[in-house]
């Protein structure tokens, strides 16, 4: 692919079950070349910078439509990047989690280009619905930008969930795979959000950390995937019915966050006692 992309990553990109054309581009513009570079960067963060623990991968189907639904935290969407990395590096065959990104992303140069080339599209119902009908793996954060704006003290809490994802799951008969993400708040310990600087840069806000910039710290992260949840119906049900389903997913995610916190506490206490737990294998060993 290029000198910057290892053979193992290039091979995993080739194994993605996506209909790339002779130019290495799929009908949505996802590009093998960009994926190779993107996952080379994620490889460093996933395997070397952060310690990422993942459980429950057996709950994610190897192929076919599914919706990964989880909590947002960590100011700069580290959670989304690590979920995408876990699907690529840990699944066999690898899967590409395609995200529903905030609308501002598509307005920004380079960000717009890279997000679309790597399968992260503007969060529109039309996109989500079409990707699911095409049997893709969708990643959704129903908290939206409100989720990443959580301060350090709120890092493991859940804010308001949108309900569109449940209606869509019902309409397209898609299983919801809940996941809990833990550690994002520690990676980017946000003490405040600057909405003024954000406006100047064309983004909703900029997280402010004790060391000012929102650069993430190399901390222990935990992703816990839960069992698939399916909801029967057409998606056109009354709000009360839909909100009931949303609450079920939210409660399940809260449980998965708690499970991840326990694992994280266990690993950190082991670290403090000097017995470092085995680090996740690198991509080279996985390929």
């Amino acid at each position: 692919m290029t000198l910057l992309v290892s053979d193992s990553i290039a091979q995993r990109v080739q194994r993605l079950e996506i209909p790339f054309n002779s130019f290495g581009v799929d009908p949505y513009g996802i590009s093998q070349k960009h994926l190779g570079l993107f996952f080379s960067l994620l490889d460093f963060f996933y395997h070397h910078y952060f310690s990422v623990g993942v459980t429950g991968l057996e709950n994610v189907p190897a192929r076919g439509r599914a919706m990964l639904v989880g909590n947002h935290c960590g100011g700069v969407a580290i959670d989304g990047a690590m979920v995408v990395a876990s699907m690529f590096f840990e699944m066999d065959p690898p899967r590409l989690a395609e995200g529903m990104a905030e609308k501002f992303i598509n307005r920004l140069p380079f960000t717009s280009l890279w997000s679309s080339r790597t399968g992260q599209f503007t969060g529109l119902p039309e996109h989500a619905s079409r990707l699911l009908e095409d049997e893709r793996l969708l990643m959704v954060f129903p908290e939206g930008a409100r989720g990443t704006a959580k301060l350090y003290s709120e890092r493991n809490s859940l804010v308001h969930f949108g309900s569109g994802f449940v209606r869509l799951a019902m309409k397209t008969r898609t299983p919801v795979i809940p996941f809990g993400f833990v550690g994002g708040g520690e990676a980017v310990p946000t003490i405040a959000n600057s909405y003024t600087i954000g406006r100047l840069l064309g983004v909703p806000y900029i997280p402010i950390t004790p060391y000012l910039i929102p650069a993430p710290l190399p901390v222990q992260l935990e992703i816990t995937y839960g069992e698939p949840m399916t909801f029967a119906g057409t998606g056109a049900e009354e709000d009360e019915v839909i909100l009931g389903h949303v609450e079920q997913v939210k409660a399940r995610i809260a449980e998965l966050i708690e499970a991840g916190r326990k694992r994280r506490r266990g690993k950190l206490s082991l670290d403090w006692r000097g017995a470092t737990p085995p680090r996740p294998a690198s991509s080279k060993e996985h390929a």
Binding site: N21, V25, K103, P109, F110, S112, T122
Partner: protein, 311 residues
């Protein structure tokens, strides 16, 4: 079948006319522009579509079908003249068709009517509103002509009306907006953006129009061929040099330094994609493109090699 083609002298009109003639149809053409090399079987009328003489052609020829291709798409035309031709001409086509007992009218439009923008869905279906009317004001008359044609679906129920929204054409004749944009040795695009472009080989475009006629489909249909491809990739595959320029530089450089002349609103179309879902047309007609995206670019490149650099 007796088929009348207003706008026959355009590159696409000529190809459609020739194909229909080969398929055994009777072809009558109306165009202000002459077509001296028209095949012998085509009955040409060099008249203005909006003049009395064109009405006479409808009355005397008694066509069973009309393929309306007499819209001006060159953005350098004077706006008032374009409104006269595109809106007035479309009205005349439907009025004359109804008056002369035409059974089927096909309006050949463009996929760009949907408009481009950061919050537009990547794939547009026929239900999407044509947002180009606000995002690309220079296309307003074409959008209006398309919508006027759509009104015939309920205004003239005795007519079978087909509105086709075709994606860009690319092929050896070098005809069309995308082909013109790629003409020079250096092709600019907006730094940091690289939208998907959807195009069809010109012979597939002709096939699609002929299929719409043959199947006599009624309604609005997006017509697409192979999957879309990023602009920078098309530029390189066409043998050109892709020149990324910051948006403010490109905006001021268009039409100068050998760069293509484009209205400023066209910049949105080289920042964000306009891609259509052609599933309904494929389901209704069985259309399948014969030439893929790589071959279409190759044929364009071979027919239009990179112009020699001036230096």
């Amino acid at each position: 079948m007796r088929v009348l083609i207003p706008g026959i002298t355009g590159q696409l009109g000529r190809m459609v006319a020739t194909r229909l003639l080969e398929e055994g149809h009777e072809v009558i053409g109306i165009d202000r522009r002459p077509w001296p090399t028209a095949p012998a079987g085509i009955e040409m009328h060099n008249v203005d579509l909006q003049k009395r003489a064109a009405e006479d052609v409808f009355r005397k020829a008694r066509p069973q079908a009309v393929i309306h291709m007499a819209t001006v798409t060159h953005l350098v035309e004077q706006t008032e003249e374009r409104y006269r031709i595109n809106l007035g001409g479309t009205r005349v086509v439907f009025d004359n068709s109804r008056a002369c007992g035409v059974e089927h009218v096909i309006f050949v439009g463009r996929h760009t009517y949907y408009g481009a923008g950061p919050e537009s869905p990547l794939y547009h279906t026929e239900e999407d509103p044509p947002m180009a009317v606000s995002t690309f004001p220079e296309l307003a008359d074409l959008v209006a002509a398309d919508l006027y044609a759509c009104t015939a679906l309920w205004r003239a129920p005795e007519l079978c009306t087909t509105v086709l929204r075709m994606c860009y054409t690319l092929g050896p004749t070098g005809h069309g907006t995308l082909a013109s944009f790629l003409r020079g040795p250096h092709v600019p695009y907006v730094l940091g953006f690289d939208p998907l472009f959807q195009f069809m080989h010109e012979q597939d475009v002709v096939t699609a129009i002929c299929l719409a006629l043959e199947k006599r489909i009624r309604g609005v249909y997006n017509v697409s061929g192979p999957q879309p491809v990023p602009l920078s990739l098309i530029i390189r595959a066409a043998g050109r040099v892709a020149v990324p320029l910051p948006e403010f530089v490109l905006r001021n450089a268009l039409g100068r330094f050998g760069l293509p002349k484009l209205p400023r609103a066209a910049l949105t179309h080289i920042k964000y994609p306009v891609v259509v879902d052609g599933a309904a047309f494929r389901a209704a007609t069985g259309f399948k493109h014969a030439i893929d995206e790589a071959q279409a670019i190759r044929e364009y490149r071979d027919a239009h090699p990179v112009p020699a650099s001036r230096s």
